[in-house]
Subunit: 333 residues, 2 copies
């Protein structure tokens, strides 16, 4: 059995491109004791991946030159040396930009297909959805009538975070790039308003859409959007620091906001990482799968065909050129 | 009965000075129903007062031109029209830079003198001590073996915060200005180390004194000290945002740190204001009064004589020229 893998050729400067990676072929090892081989069907593309391409220290070690690029997949078991893991079973949690992954079976989660498309287990029902759920549960703690602002509102995390805030009875304002995304955020996701950060006077648009200030901010982007929302925070506001994608390609980090407002407004700001609470993945799948099945939890995906196009897919995500959750179709369902 | 008051003449530019205030004389009104007149003995001088002199919006309304300047006192009831409040009783909680305050008796807390000097009810046993207790209890939640850094470590808040961290079993590193304060922080307060921000290479000194990074940071100053400590924060660090005195005289707020570390390190940063939890004042007095009495909770005070010197006392606090809690002696004990 032979497979393709995308390995890191060199560390990108600025936006990653195809030239920063090599596609290599190789043999799939036979699974060792307790291992299975997964034929990957969909590969998740996420902003965090930029951090793995950089030598800059973060919460995880960078991918080394020549190593297979990091990413989560959903796929089918095609070889098994693990008791109770059968050929043909669908599993999420194999890792790597590759057509086949050989790994410990216990790192995988079995999925019973049928209710939701397989790709959703990488998005609305997977890591991004669980991230949104964790942030809103642990930090957001939205109360009815509060105003919640979500940046990257049409994205995989933001779209779920905002819908959870709506379910909690909040007024929800999205921030997204371009009229198509803003329309989707309002019409498709049911947010109360959406500000287009590409065309608006952000301060004026936030003043207009958040007349009572901002009680909860779910931060995915950083930069000018962050500064504008921070200026509108109310006393006792909560800020979920989930990501700052606007600076992931930057060589030098720009300065941030003066933090005097943290004292004056008694703001609670907290960084989150979904893997800190692994139990939340199953909890969220149990909660949200029926909502996806009955259509009450909306989501959007961009599916790119072909493993070799994963670098471009990542560049799109980092530039905001995707629409909703970005996945790469590695092989047939 | 006549009294003196210090009223705001004009809003200071930069550091406040005597010329920004007027000392005026007037009659004390006879207390109305439920009111008492307090002869103030000590007046508390605190960094937050700079905010009241500015038109810049904060958590409280600014003092208006011609109004008596804001501040908390401890004093003696010299006239009473309130049932159960007797002449000669010592009370804390009257407000204003003035020799006599007429106010509702229910806003006051009766003190039984004897155990601790009266001035301590404005410092280690009062608002600053309660602030430190609230921050360490609600946000710091120090665990044994953790490293805790305290800025303005010899000050009224920092000295208590650090001693609470020591009681919790932490390694405690202070940051203070000048060798005298640093010596006191180590020898008098029992911190494990103290960095002099006026003479040290701050990054090197923190690397040296915090070899395992920083788990809890109690922020009183902002600026370069803040940046240096933030760079040393560990995963799951907690930051108590209590004040940023280094910028209180500034006309324009400088930019702050890039907040990428909040995500990467999953930092919990929270602003606190002691008056948000009024029940903590009595709780802290009950806990700490025996520690002050038996000498196990150390503190330092600077006492300036004469109400007319309150503006200079405030300027000293804002410039770090005080040593420990700053109080003005308004009248005899």
């Amino acid at each position: 059995m032979s497979s393709q893998s995308v390995v890191l050729r060199r560390r990108p400067t600025g936006a990653p491109s195809r030239d920063d990676f090599d596609v290599v072929s190789g043999e799939i090892p036979a699974p060792g004791p307790g291992e299975v081989v997964v034929r990957n069907i969909f590969l998740s593309i996420d902003p965090y991946m930029r951090g793995r391409l950089s030598e800059r220290k973060s919460y995880a070690n960078p991918v080394q030159i020549g190593e297979v690029m990091e990413g989560e997949t959903i796929g089918e078991i095609v070889a098994s040396n693990a008791h109770g893991y059968d050929l043909g079973e669908i599993v999420v949690g194999a890792r790597g930009w590759q057509t086949h992954t050989c790994c410990k079976a216990t790192t995988l989660t079995r999925i019973t297909p049928g209710g939701a498309p397989l790709s959703t287990y990488l998005g609305v029902l997977g890591m991004p959805g669980t991230t949104a759920y964790t942030g809103m549960t642990d930090v957001g703690r939205t109360k009815p009538g509060e105003t919640v602002v979500i940046s990257a509102a049409s994205g995989a995390v933001g779209s779920v975070a905002g819908q959870l805030a709506k379910r909690a009875g909040a007024r929800v304002v999205g921030i997204a790039g371009g009229p198509d995304k803003c329309l989707f955020v309002q019409e498709g996701l049911g947010f109360d308003a959406c500000v287009d950060h590409r065309s608006s006077d952000l301060d004026a648009a936030l003043a207009d859409t958040c007349p009572d200030g901002v009680d909860v901010y779910f931060e995915n982007v950083g930069g000018a959007v962050q500064a504008a929302v921070f200026a509108k925070l109310n006393v006792f506001a909560r800020v979920i620091m989930c990501g700052m994608v606007s600076q992931y390609n930057a060589a030098e980090l720009p300065p941030g906001p003066n933090l005097g407002f943290m004292v004056a407004k008694r703001v609670h700001m907290q960084g989150i990482l979904v893997s800190d609470k692994p139990e939340r993945f199953a909890e969220w799948r149990g909660l949200a799968a029926p909502w996806v099945a009955d259509g009450s939890l909306a989501y959007r995906e961009t599916i790119i065909d072909g493993l070799e196009n994963a670098p471009e897919a990542l560049a799109m995500v980092l530039n905001g050129d995707n629409f909703g959750k970005m996945v790469v179709r590695v092989g047939p369902d």
